[in-house]
């Protein structure tokens, strides 16, 4: 201010945040997860994630006909999140097709960033699951080889703990926390996911209500209804929290600002709904994992949730019935 009287219409206070700064924060938060994935699954993890990000950014740049490949960074986040929901041993063209589908069908057809109805990364994943399902969510998963960067991880395979197969029985709690078990790239390590999410909480990009509602519902339903490999019900609840994509979904995908409700109570309903559908599919459905379907279904319900949970204004009373 140099002493001039500035006359302008509202808004008068502007945030220094931009789409790009938020997306870079998300990329930073995904850093630890990506690092652990590379440590566990070696070069194939690095290739899958790089290809996913690259394909997403390239698709968006081509669609928008712009030279700035990185742009606002949202395509990079979508590509990375999509790659993190894939197993390490997928062929290179799977993340390419998935990322292109995510960007074009999931986002650009709806008018681009901020206007999509469904989470783009999950749209890409759903299309991949139903097109090449046996490569994505079959019973055979590569076993991680920690600290062997050049190892061929597709040599040794096993079932994920969620499939409930006998050979996956000996998964310990520490394995669940660190992530040294079979699974998708970004979803095995609970510690890295929580660590990354703290950055987003600290920056205020995500609200506790969605992950809180989601994780609490999964834990309660897991404890009450069982399933999984442990006999102790409290461990079973924990098992459901730490396996599969629940943490990745609850912390990074369900919290997507565009596709989740904006009202506080709506966020809670959204989280609880995600948890409910996830557990229904896990315990009773044909698929071992339900995070993708749960979040996509709740994305579709988001406009309705928003509509019916508009908070009452201060001092507003319920409208009286007219005589």
């Amino acid at each position: 201010m140099n002493g001039k009287l500035v006359i302008s219409s509202s808004p008068h206070v502007r945030t220094i945040q931009s789409v790009q700064s938020i997306m870079i924060d998300v990329l930073i938060a995904l850093g630890p997860v990506a690092l652990v994935a590379v440590l566990l699954f070696g070069k194939q993890a690095l290739i899958t994630m790089a290809v996913g990000m690259g394909a997403a950014m390239l698709t968006e740049a081509l669609w928008l006909r712009r030279w700035n490949i990185f742009g606002d960074g949202s395509a990079a986040v979508t590509g990375l999140l999509l790659a993190m929901t894939l197993p390490a041993n997928v062929p290179w063209w799977i993340p390419v097709i998935g990322a292109a589908a995510a960007i074009i069908i999931g986002k650009q057809l709806y008018g681009g960033i901020g206007q999509n109805i469904f989470n783009p990364a999950l749209v890409g994943r759903a299309i991949l699951v139903f097109s090449w399902g046996s490569r994505l969510s079959g019973k055979i998963w590569p076993v991680p080889k920690p600290f062997h960067f050049f190892a061929d991880i597709s040599a040794v395979t096993t079932a994920t703990p969620l499939a409930g197969e006998a050979e996956a029985m000996e998964v310990s709690l520490s394995q669940l926390l660190i992530g040294n078990m079979a699974g998708c790239l970004g979803e095995t390590s609970a510690i890295a996911l929580i660590f990354g999410a703290f950055w987003l909480f600290y920056k205020g990009h995500i609200d506790w209500r969605i992950p809180g509602g989601y994780l609490a519902t999964v834990w309660i339903m897991g404890t009450l209804l069982g399933g999984g490999i442990y006999i102790n019900p409290y461990m079973t609840g924990l098992f459901h929290l730490l396996t599969g994509g629940v943490l990745l979904g609850a912390l990074f995908m369900a919290t997507d600002m565009v596709t989740s409700p904006v009202t506080p109570s709506g966020k809670l309903i959204f989280g609880v709904g995600c948890g409910l559908i996830t557990m229904l599919i896990r315990l009773y459905g044909a698929y071992p994992e339900g995070v993708t379907f749960a979040i996509l279904t709740m994305n579709a319900l988001t406009p309705l949730i928003d509509k019916f949970t508009i908070p009452r204004k201060f001092g507003e009373v319920k409208r009286l019935v007219r005589p």
């Binding site: 008018g111 749209v123 599919i281 996509l296 279904t297 579709a300 319900l301 406009p303 309705l304």
Partner: protein, 193 residues
């Protein structure tokens, strides 16, 4: 009782008539633009499907089968459905002229809503009892209603977004419906009859 709950659950969520079996797509596209009309259409379809399933079941087992004229099934069922729709139309024109205006051509078109005929035919083909057929009708139509209301919520939001011009309207609705259908495929195998 258990079977009734299973039927209810399956045909609302798992085997949704619009999202998994792709019946009744034309009213699904036609009246999902506004939530009010979607609610009204949903209610009308619930009424028509439930009553017509009841009546067609009775006609099939007490008229067609004893007389040995099952080959007239299609014709009689369509006749019953058309009669039901006339009833709803007359009722709505008197009771709620606004809704009648909002539904427009789609109200008489319930007659040609394939979901209605499909429910009546499938109830007979799957050899449901009378009570099961009625629950089947209620479940299928509630599933239709749910899909319609979800889609109307999404479309009200899509009004505000910059969908590319060639895709506006029906095209983006079909794309959205396909993604929704992918999401609902996750419920597969949850319960079987």
């Amino acid at each position: 009782m258990e079977k009734l709950i299973t039927i209810l659950f399956i045909y609302i969520l798992v085997d949704n008539f619009v999202l998994q079996r792709f019946f009744g797509i034309c009213p699904f596209l036609g009246v999902s633009r506004k939530m009010e009309t979607a609610m009204g259409m949903g209610m009308a379809v619930v009424f028509v499907i439930t009553i017509s399933t009841l009546v067609t079941w009775l006609i099939h087992y007490y008229v067609l089968v004893p007389l040995g004229i099952e080959f007239l099934q299609l014709v009689t069922f369509i006749l019953v459905i058309a009669g039901m729709v006339q009833l709803v139309e007359t009722f709505l024109r008197k009771a709620s002229p606004t809704l009648y205006q909002g539904l427009g051509i789609y109200l008489p078109l319930i007659t040609t809503n394939c979901a209605v005929l499909a429910v009546a035919l499938l109830a007979v083909r799957q050899e449901f009892t009378l009570l099961e057929s009625v629950v089947f009708g209620i479940a299928a139509s509630l599933g239709f209603w749910m899909a319609l209301v979800i889609m109307s919520g999404i479309r009200e939001r899509l009004e505000l977004s910059k969908v590319p011009a060639p895709l506006q309207g029906t095209a983006i609705t079909l794309i959205t419906a396909s993604i929704l259908s992918l999401a609902f495929m996750g419920f597969r195998g949850m319960m079987t009859l």
